[in-house]
């Protein structure tokens, strides 16, 4: 059985089909939630925001022109909502400086133990990146967005997407190095 495409669902939603809305929601809400949660870092706020995202889809489905994938459109709406929420409640965004401050491994037995598990430490460093860097890494690696799609979601030129990704990875390497893991790059 072939699943109904996202574009067909949007067309049905534009016609007022609630069931199509439920299908689209079921298909995408978890990823949109995780994308938003990485911004606002508050589960309750993230839940409220994804409800707003899909309500916007319900209202604006007839304006969707199909120039990009539906998932790209959803993430662009979600990003706008998340940033607006952060402007209203800036305390929800962690201080990047504090978040990036990886403790001296020599002073922390837990971190010393983590060094033995490189992937665990890598995940810790990923959470310590700035919001811009976290966002682009998530979009490329987890949401599987192309250069063009990231450019559309974030609203930056394609070359800037590549440059930002490079610097996000460079910062990640520096955080790992500070935590005692030398990768030989950058």
């Amino acid at each position: 059985m072939q699943a109904t495409s996202d574009e067909v669902l949007i067309a049905r939603i534009a016609g007022g089909d609630r069931l199509a809305m439920q299908v689209l929601f079921a298909r995408h809400h978890v990823r949109v939630y995780r994308f938003v949660l990485r911004f606002v870092r508050n589960e309750s706020t993230a839940e409220d925001l994804i409800s707003e995202v899909f309500l916007d889809v319900w209202r604006q489905a007839n304006r969707f022109e199909g120039r990009s994938a539906v998932s790209t459109w959803l993430l662009a709406i979600a990003r706008f909502k998340a940033l607006s929420a952060l402007r209203r409640h800036p305390e929800q965004e962690l201080d990047d400086e504090k978040a990036a401050a990886i403790e001296d491994p020599a002073d922390n037995p837990e971190i010393v133990a983590q060094k033995k598990d490189k992937s665990k430490l890598l995940r810790k460093c990923l959470t310590a990146l700035s919001a811009d860097h976290r966002e682009i890494i998530d979009l490329v690696y987890y949401h599987e967005k192309s250069v063009e799609e990231v450019a559309e979601i974030v609203g930056i030129p394609e070359n800037t997407v590549k440059t930002r990704m490079f610097y996000a990875r460079k910062k990640l390497g520096e955080l790992l190095k500070a935590a005692g893991v030398e990768r030989g790059w950058p």
């Binding site: 574009e7 534009a14 439920q22 007839n62 990923l126 192309s146 990640l172």
Partner: protein, 226 residues
Amino acid sequence: MNTLRNEAPEHQDVEALLPWHAAGTLSRGDTARVEEALARDPELARRYELVREELGATIHLNETLGAPSTRVMEKLMAAIDAEGARRRTPVSLTLAARIAEFIAGLSPRTLAYSATAAALAIVLQAGLIAGVFIKERSGQGYETASYGQSAAQQGSFAIVRFAVLASAADITKFLEDNKVSIVDGPKPGGLYRIRIATSALPKDELAGIVGRMQQDKVIGFIAPAE
């Protein structure tokens, strides 16, 4: 990117594409270019392994973020209901235009055959499902009107649209395997109301059962119903 290795610009460009190559989102041309560079440059290949580690860690990190509660869907549908009946707006999508173009390109004979086959399939399926429905009801024996009415209102329900190609045998097997029964339909859109359980299940449990049923090839669409 002045911290990239001091190499030709095209090499730097290839290195910048490694994250998208690992995620599988490059065009065919760029993919070939990156694979060729990886095959002849061991240092680039080593760095590509770092990218793959980052990819795995990012996926793992996101997957541990959990999922939103079911209240989100409820809140959304309540908000949609609150908006009231919507005006049916004509859809002016590129996709719609493409479909229209495709249909317009078919010969009248092909269109006629397709329409007839589709109509027959729908009528046939409706008839078969009605047969299943009647057979089920006829096996219930004597019941008072008041009993039948109240029993039909009790339990946990879902609305379902069966896959167009599902046969009567498939549907019967699905109903038997899942111990569910059709209580109403067909409604507009080929929808049927089915009883999932004779008691009112918690919403989470009902959603879980409906989610599992959605995986069945017999099901075109299914959603919990009041």
